[in-house]
Amino acid sequence: MDRVKMATVWLGGCSGCHMSFLDMDEWLVDLAQRIDLVYSPLVDVKEYPEDVDVCLVEGAVANDENLHLVRRIRARTRLVISFGDCAVTGNVTAMRNPLGVALEVLKTSYLDKSNLHPAIPSEPEILPVLLDQVRPVHAVIPVDYYLQGCPPPADRIRAVLEPLVNGVWPELPLAERRFG
C-alpha cells in the first residue's frame, strides 16, 4: 500500500499539540511505516508541497503568514484536520480579540503594559503582520475534521490517525469530543 503523505503545521498556538503528538511514543514507529511526513515543524522542508493526503493544523489563524499558509494547505491537501482547541475554537490565541484590532493589542502589550523600552516591534518582511482578529481555522478555509483538546491527548490523536492511515474514516466517541 502507498504511504500516506502527511503534513503537520503550527500556526498561532503553543506547540503543545505537537508535543502531544510526540507523546504517542512507540506508536510513532508504527506510524512512520505508514506515512511520509512531507512537511512539519519536525522536519526540514521549507515549502508546503503539492498533493498532500492529510494535514494536521495546530493553532489559530493569527497573522498574515498563518493566513497565507492555511490557504495554501487547503489548495494542496485532501484532508485538513483542525488539530487542537486553538485551531478549532481560537482558544488562548484568540484571547486577544476582545482587546480590539491588532494595533490596539500591540499598544496594550508593548506600550501600555511595558515599562522597559516601550516600542511596537516592526520588522517588515521578517515579522508577520498580526491580523485584526484571530480566527479558528474553519472560519478561513473549509475543514474536514475536528480534533478537540488543549492539547488533544495522545490516545485521542492516535484514535484519529490509526483509522485514517488505514483508509477508514475515524469515528471518535462523544467523550473524546471534549474541549479543554
Binding site: 482547541d85 488562548v92 484571547m95 479558528p136 488543549c150 469530543r177
Partner: protein, 238 residues
C-alpha cells in the same frame, strides 16, 4: 391532583397533572438535557436546551415550563431537536469568551459537558468576542462575565433560597450582564450575605471561589440539594 396519561418518546406514562414534561420524563428515566434548570429553584426556560416537540403544535416547547396534559404526545430526541440543541450550545459558546483550557471550571463545567452531550465538534457561528469584566472585589468569590451564560441560576437561588436577591440582570441582548445590588462591585453589595449559594449553583466558571486556578473550581451541588431538602421536607439529614 388528577393523574393524566401521555406518551413521551412513544412510552405511555402517567403523571400528576401539575407536573412539567421535564419532571414526568425524569421520573420515567427519560433523559432531556437541561442547562438553566436547577432542582429546587423555579424554572425560567432561559436556555432552551430542554425544548421538546409536542404533537399538534409546530412550536417547540420548553419541557421545564410546559405542563403535561391528557393524551399529549411528546418527542424529546428527534433529529430536529438534536440539531437545535447543538445550535443553542454553539451560540452560547459564540456569545462570550469561553476558553475551557484556562477556565477554573475545566472538567467540572455543565456547559462543557453539554457540548460533549450534543456532539458539538466546532462552533459554526461567528464568535462575538465581547469585552467582559472580571469582578473580584468580593472577599471570597469572583465573577467572570466572559464565562456567564445568563442562565440566571445565581439570581434565582439568591432570591428564592437565600432570600437576599443580591443578583439580578441588567441590559438587553448582547449587553445583558448579571449584576449585584445596584450594578455595583460585588464587594460593595451590602445585601450579599456571602453564603456562596450562587457560586455552587453556577453551571460554568463564571462564579468561582477566589484562589481557584484552572480546573480547580468544583461546584458542590450536594450543598444545594441538602438545603432544598431541608427547606421543603424539613429534613436536616443530607
Amino acid at each position: 391532583m388528577n393523574s393524566i396519561t401521555l406518551t413521551i418518546d412513544g412510552k405511555l406514562i402517567s403523571a400528576p397533572g401539575d407536573q412539567t414534561i421535564l419532571e414526568a420524563a425524569r421520573e420515567n428515566d427519560i433523559h432531556i438535557p437541561t442547562l438553566c434548570n436547577l432542582e429546587g429553584i423555579s424554572a425560567v426556560g432561559a436556555c432552551r436546551v430542554c425544548l421538546v416537540e409536542v404533537s399538534g403544535s409546530n412550536r417547540l416547547a420548553p419541557s421545564c415550563l410546559t405542563k403535561v396534559a391528557e393524551g399529549m404526545q411528546v418527542q424529546t430526541a428527534t433529529d430536529r431537536l438534536r440539531e437545535y440543541r447543538k445550535m443553542i450550545v454553539e451560540l452560547l459558546f459564540a456569545e462570550r469568551n469561553h476558553i475551557c483550557s484556562v477556565c477554573v471550571a475545566n472538567g467540572n463545567c455543565e456547559l462543557q459537558d453539554l457540548a460533549v452531550t450534543v456532539g458539538m465538534d466546532h462552533v459554526r457561528y461567528e464568535y462575538q468576542y465581547p469585552s467582559c469584566s472580571v469582578d473580584v472585589t468580593h472577599k471570597e468569590f469572583g465573577v467572570d462575565h466572559n464565562r456567564c451564560i445568563l442562565c440566571t441560576r445565581c439570581v434565582r437561588v439568591c432570591d428564592e433560597v437565600e432570600g437576599a436577591h443580591t443578583w439580578d440582570v441588567s441590559g438587553r441582548g448582547m449587553q445583558s450582564r448579571v449584576i449585584t445590588d445596584l450594578n455595583q462591585p460585588w464587594g460593595t453589595a451590602t445585601s450579599c450575605t456571602s453564603c456562596g449559594k450562587c457560586v455552587q449553583a453556577c453551571p460554568t466558571g463564571a462564579l468561582f471561589r477566589q484562589g481557584s486556578t484552572v480546573a480547580e473550581m468544583k461546584k458542590d451541588r450536594e450543598l444545594l440539594d441538602f438545603l432544598m431538602t431541608a427547606r421543603e421536607k424539613k429534613q436536616w439529614i443530607g
